[in-house]
């Protein structure tokens, strides 16, 4: 069937499949929705995507995705600069924000240590993190990396960086199931995990 679509339709269907969870079938349905009833929506989507894809980069302080030099969370004066929560992904920042239980700042690693894949300190921006820890403002680092083997390894490395600067490092508590990535944990559980965080040695 798909071979009967015009080149532009095919192109769009293929492009939509870069979204997680979207296969051939859902991509076709989205295409027909966008081009049928909701042509204005399609134009807005195209424009938003184009703008974001060209202008969004990383915050110079925390590596969160933003089109500003410094993201809103980092520049907010209402946030407690002495607390730093280290997470793996931008989605994890949103997950922690949704708990409403955290008022400090963030650092986004954009992944976790995975030595076999060659992902080490450099890839995770640990140079930048080191600078922030050395800045003298932070008194506690909360390690909210995934509760996976790789997330644990990452937490240990950052804890040892914090130790060098005499900064307390704590790990979110295991209410989160092993194998869990933060963004999938419900708000209540995550809030408890944050509150019950334990100092790492």
């Amino acid at each position: 069937m798909a071979e009967n679509y015009s080149p532009l339709l095919k192109q769009l269907i293929r492009a939509l499949q870069c979204l997680p969870g979207v296969g051939q079938k859902s991509a076709q349905r989205m295409t027909f929705d966008l081009l049928g009833e909701d042509r204005m929506g399609a134009k807005r989507l195209a424009e938003a995507l184009e703008n974001a894809a060209t202008r969004v980069t990383y915050c110079k302080d925390c590596r969160m995705l933003t089109e500003d030099q410094i993201c809103q969370l980092c520049s907010s004066e209402r946030r407690d600069s002495s607390l730093l929560c280290v997470v793996e992904t931008p989605a994890d920042v949103l997950a922690v924000e949704q708990t409403g239980a955290y008022s400090g700042k963030y650092f986004v690693l954009m992944g976790h240590i995975s030595p076999i894949d060659g992902i080490g300190p450099g890839e995770l921006g640990l140079d930048l993190l080191e600078e922030r820890l050395a800045g003298g403002v932070i008194t506690e680092v909360i390690l909210a990396t995934g509760v996976t083997v790789e997330g644990d390894a990452t937490a240990h490395i950052i804890a040892s960086m914090a130790k060098k600067e005499n900064i307390q490092a704590s790990r979110i508590a295991y209410g989160v199931p092993m194998g869990g990535e933060l963004e999938f944990v419900d708000s209540g559980t995550l809030a408890r995990a944050l509150a019950g965080r334990r100092e790492m040695d």
């Binding site: 997680p20 969870g21 979207v22 296969g23 240590i113 030595p115 076999i116 894949d117 060659g118 992902i119 080490g120 300190p121 450099g122 640990l126 080191e130 996976t148 083997v149 644990d152 390894a153 240990h156 490395i157 040892s160 960086m161 060098k164 199931p177 092993m178 194998g179 869990g180 999938f184």
Partner: protein
Amino acid sequence: MSQREAVQLESGYVLHHRAYQNTSRIIDFLTENHGLVSLVAQGARRPKAAHRAVLQPFVPLVFSWVRRGELGKLTHLESQAQAFDFAGKQLMAGFYLNELLLRLLARGDPNPEAFSCYSRCLTELAVGRGVERPLRLFEFQLLKALGYALNLDHEVDNGLSIQPETYYFFELERGPVVCQERTEGADVFFGRDLIALREGILDDKKSLEAAKRLLQRALRLYLGERPLRTRMVLSELFGRGLEL
């Protein structure tokens, strides 16, 4: 078409995993009786996937699969025992073991001996008395399991047994030859240290260092030019002065 293979309740460990398609993972397992096996775990990346908690490195697992060709499909999985409770250095050592196995074992080549070296090494790492000794013994035993055993018994040229107070030049793939030098060099080893490795003693710094020097040379022969990534990440961490 290649033959369909269905294996029930095999013991093994996750060595490495990577994302596959939208919600799945491809996992490289070390198995007890089937060597390295790559299997797709369907839906393993879904938030509520049943196996998320156990489908991790350093968990003794029992699992089943079906396979036709290179990539099989995981059909059953359970943990056999508690996960090894590793932290810091132990985790890094574990990743190193995993990479060594992925690089040195041939796919589809059963090697129960390599499997038992691995289980033994994890158990020893878990004791928490340093990682160097367990790693060196693993490297030594793995080379043997792969059929590349180091000769630490006798001199290559005359079959005389190794003497503790003698210096030897070590010819890779052959063995020790008595040498005139009286100090250790890149390829020169003190007999006592060769014996310590052979007997699995390695209880002092000096014999550990000698073992590392010898084993790194031997491993390089089989690993080829491409360096181990775990080793690069580790030296980057070390370069930052991070005590794990």
